[in-house]
Subunit: 194 residues, 6 copies
């Protein structure tokens, strides 16, 4: 994909214009994004050709990434970037790499999640979490009870294991959608939180 | 995982009991499943420890698999099984293999989606659709505009391409969640629609 | 391969007509198959363009799969399906999947061997056997004495190890022959022993 | 495997002594080997714990490698080595590498088949043959009619395609048996036909 | 590797102290680095336990990356990062990612080389160059004359092809040395040229 | 690549003629090669279009392969062949396979390094060394402190580990350069030291 071609109104390579005008609640949601983040993330614009799809996507996203969990928000973003790095998803590495920098306050951790998570300074808990994330991204069918027990031994509850599995799963979904549709990240992300 | 161990009350290897009692709408939904399918699919029971998660999951599932689309329900189930076969997900191959048999009226097509989709008798449209599903499951980061154009040439609209990408994505998510948690399929599926 | 094209007289995509008439012993063998199995398996018809090839193939097959062995016939068929699943051979998964269902009396075991053998309920002996079958199908050059000792520790004799290795080897041969020639399975298999 | 350990009476790491005394026909066959080749190949000794297995193996081997075929004996040995190189089988690369040197009269061709067949000087026919051998060794389930047509276009008949597929299949079998049992090649091979 | 452990005097996980004192020319070279780059790159310190090794390494590096070539310095750094990304080398992605940012004046290009080079806006020449770099990093033994001709058609001379191959080769060397020794990048790199 | 085409004056598929006449020191070096080895290795001729490149290459080569080290010259050549075998580099397997035969005095060890190093008779030290060489050739980003400790436990010093990593790295460089440029080995190698 050439970015030159991409600089059209559509946030992906597909010709799927947003509903126009957006209904009030959606417009309000986008306005809040603009205000708080300085942009409306392209993944939201990409779904906005069909509001049921946009709402189903954001409901799942918000539940997984923002709701109460034994995993911190930073940990969920670390998983997001590690999965996206294995799948080499341009959109998700850029956007969630920025989130790791924002939540951790360090550029280096964001880079390590993108480049090679084994190079990061991690405690035993986070190492176990990311090793599991890598395994079920690459070879989920080989998961055994031993893998789950390793997580429990590192301090995770069964509920935490559910959450890890679902965050890993979610980015294995969005990575493929973003790459299949050539979704490109908002330019604002690149320089954020360096 | 040993099935013997698995035959506990939990539909996965995780100890996450369902909310008890279920709220009325959820109970009604489960009752309808029981009535129409002869069971409550374990994937629903697995999510029912947290109703927000259950609702977010079913909303996305229903939108992708059951809502209006240029893809028939059978085509969406064919994609589901091909993706689940590549990822070797036990739950999803069993459950959606049954769906392919149900919707196609033939045992053979369900088996081919599980065993090797290239062995099935498919028209050019479905061949293009499944080749794309395989590619973005295995190597989404190598997707190019040529891949999308191949789908357009086979008769798919940009909206259809979005739907293919999202169904592929969705099962790349659920395959990993099911395998990571050792979710097992309801026994009823095995003999259905043979 | 389109099945439509395939529905010619030949059991493969190659134009290699059977010897006609078949010699008496071959005809008698085929008649017995028809009587006992309700069909002459296409793999036999495929070899019948050259009787030396047919006889060499059946002699080896019968010795490996039917002769006296420390492995039960069901165990040998389980190996057959696991190997064929790794190689995604349409013919062999269909035909030997039916054999697993027939010998085990359960549809579920046949499906698990096809879909993901780790999901099946297996004792330690059969787990060791199938793990070895998987390893030498995927990476035989990395076999070490430890792998053989693991089998001995699980109760297998050296003769049993020979038999496992040879059944694994045999299906790695036939999977490739069947896929390379687009051999298709007799339709009767699909519904058998469900 | 340590060769030191291996230098016992058994041609593999398994304790499966030869029938003793061998029946007259077998003994005569081994005597001919000794006379003509200067050794009894270890693959024959390895099977000789069970004469039915030895006979079934040699019948298939002789039919595939020595009987009338559109493929020359050298071409069949070239396939044998290319397959064995992909599978990194020590026994088969040593023994059949020597056969390529013997039949071609050049050390270089034998080395190229072992090291990287693309480096050899080959005509279009042999290139097509070895490309097909590589594909069905590595990814047989992806074989399509196009692959067979490429062979026909290079001058192969359908009978030749059968023979290529079966030689490829055979060495995918024996490579796994040899590696799984730590079969070692007779020392005489190493220096032959250099 | 834990970075905490790593913060010792050694730039790698190996205990190989620098020659002390450094000879005058080496000290002068390091002083120039300090002055111009604000640091002595750890890869130089890592080699400085043996001055012959340091000198051989820097001579080759300088010839490949800085000497006259049909490839611009930026192009050589782009290759460096793409290769290092495939090999997931922490040191080289960090250090040469910074170089791409410095030479291109854009953070985005450096990120794309790290994350997924196909997402970058590239002309036909650079696309051909990076596709070749990827192929010979992943599967050099499958290189054919067609691959070289594709480069010539994109405007590269035979001398340029030599240079591409050698830069690709060089980073396939250093990536492995850096990862094998747990070499870590100077902290200064992370924030540079954002 | 067809060898017929290759038999031109150039030692690779690139049109990069040697400097003519060579400067006196280079000519002297080539004369010594001719005298001692019976040939000027093509890798030297290939670099001789640019004397800075030739000198940088030979300086690094000589330091790694011939200078003082805790690794014997044979061990360094064993690593060279194992790496080149994984990468299937025609030039390097031929040339360094001959070196292993020369230094070990046995054809068998050279063949084992090419065909499957696990089949060779090795002590614990050499097994650890080659297992490390294989790992950092195939998956260097997964190297951990455990891998280095395994080498230390097998008797290697940190300096030895540096040397192993650098020899592995070097052949991962030259394998790619040789394959990318279709460098062919001097014919003399094939029959040497058999």
């Amino acid at each position: 994909m050439s970015r030159e071609d991409a600089r059209s109104d559509s946030p992906t390579a597909l010709d799927l214009p947003m509903v126009d005008p957006l209904p009030e609640t959606t417009q309000k949601y986008f306005d809040i994004c603009q205000e708080k983040l300085g942009m409306v993330p392209n993944v939201l614009k990409a779904h906005a050709f069909d509001l049921d799809k946009l709402n189903a996507f954001t409901a799942l996203y918000n539940d997984l990434m923002l709701a109460e969990s034994g995993l911190s928000k930073l940990e969920r973003e670390m998983i997001a970037v590690v999965v996206s790095s294995i799948n080499r998803c341009w959109y998700c590495q850029v956007a969630h790499g920025a989130a790791v920098r924002a939540l951790s306050g360090t550029s280096e951790l964001g880079e390590a999640m993108v480049m090679n998570w084994r190079a990061a300074t991690l405690d035993a808990r986070q190492t176990a979490m990311l090793a599991f994330a890598e395994k079920i991204t690459k070879a989920s069918s080989e998961t055994t009870e031993d893998d789950r027990q390793t997580l429990r031994d590192a301090g995770f509850t069964d509920r935490d294991i559910w959450d890890i599995a679902n965050v890993v799963g979610f980015f294995n979904m969005t990575n493929r959608v973003a790459s299949a549709t050539a979704m490109w990240p908002n330019e604002e992300y690149h320089a954020q939180f360096r």
